[in-house]
């Protein structure tokens, strides 16, 4: 038995189970903080998946951006708002049931499609050994700043719009501070 393959499979199933369980936990979490915590676990598990897929740079980016920034923003919003109602499920029971059935059906269908399909043969442009030799970050960098330059520059535009939008939306009153402060 090849120990490397075994550990890979072990790590995969471990983190896959963690991801699914944590995602389930998020779906049923009553408190949004716990939901966010579960989602953080999913993100960590996905980072592990990316490492298994030879994309370590994406893995750390995933943790840094999703777990370290996006979810922190969620936590901040939860604290800024401190929502009281932690109700589970939609108001209409029928709707909840329909949603459950169809989400399940969707997952099932996707699994059927994905297991019955056949992946096109690899292009061979970036086999894992080459990526490992050059370094994943370097490969991503080289691609991002040449072939994908336009999306990169557009990203800055997007961020600019986001920051202005968020400022305008969230910051209405200047003087009024009826909430507790820090």
């Amino acid at each position: 038995m090849d120990f490397g393959v075994f550990t890979e499979a072990l790590v995969f199933y471990l983190f896959a189970a963690l991801a699914v369980l944590a995602a389930l936990g998020m779906v049923v979490a009553r408190s949004p903080v716990r939901g966010a915590l579960s989602l953080a676990l999913v993100f960590v598990a996905l980072a592990a998946m990316y490492i298994l897929l030879n994309a370590p740079f994406l893995a750390v980016a995933q943790i840094m951006i999703y777990a370290g920034a996006v979810l922190i923003l969620f936590l901040f919003v939860i604290m800024v708002l401190n929502p009281r109602t932690d109700i589970l499920g939609a108001r209409s029971r029928a709707q909840t049931l329909t949603a459950l059935v169809f989400a399940g059906a969707f997952g099932l269908l996707m699994v059927i499609v994905l297991t019955s399909g056949q992946l096109a043969p690899p292009t061979g442009k970036f086999p894992p050994q080459v990526v490992a030799a050059q370094g994943h970050t370097e490969v991503i960098g080289a691609l991002l700043f040449t072939q994908f330059l336009l999306p990169f520059e557009i990203a800055s535009m997007l961020l600019l719009i986001a920051i202005v939008g968020a400022m305008v939306l969230a910051r209405r009153e200047k003087g009024a501070r009826k909430n507790i402060e820090g």
């Binding site: 890979e8 499979a9 995969f12 991801a19 699914v20 995602a23 998020m26 779906v27 949004p32 939901g35 966010a36 989602l39 993100f43 998946m49 298994l52 897929l53 030879n54 994309a55 994406l58 995933q62 951006i65 999703y66 996006v70 923003l73 969620f74 919003v77 800024v80 009281r84 932690d86 109700i87 589970l88 499920g89 939609a90 108001r91 709707q95 909840t96 989400a103 997952g107 996707m110 994905l114 297991t115 992946l119 690899p122 292009t123 061979g124 442009k125 970036f126 894992p128 990526v131 991503i140 691609l143 072939q147 999306p151 990169f152 990203a155 986001a162 920051i163 939008g165 968020a166 939306l169």
Partner: protein, 100 residues
Amino acid sequence: MLTVTHFTVLSAILFSLGALAVLIRRNPLIMFMGIELMLNAVNLAFVAFSRFMENMDGQVFVFIVLTVAAAEVAVGLALVVAIFRARDNVDMDEIDLLKG
């Protein structure tokens, strides 16, 4: 050996769970998290295909999705904050502004 199917099936499951969170939860924050989960599931599929197709485009795409997600969360949560401060309400089933 791990194959692309391992990862894509996981991705499909996570996507369904994310959709479920959007569909059955009333708390907009959790619904939002569901959307993030769906995005991440798609990212996983991207990376998996990219790895097994030996083509980096998918991974660069994930990188861009990361940016989009961040921008989306910033603005989306700003909206949530704005709505909540205006309505003092957390229940998405009481927000029916889409109604014509």
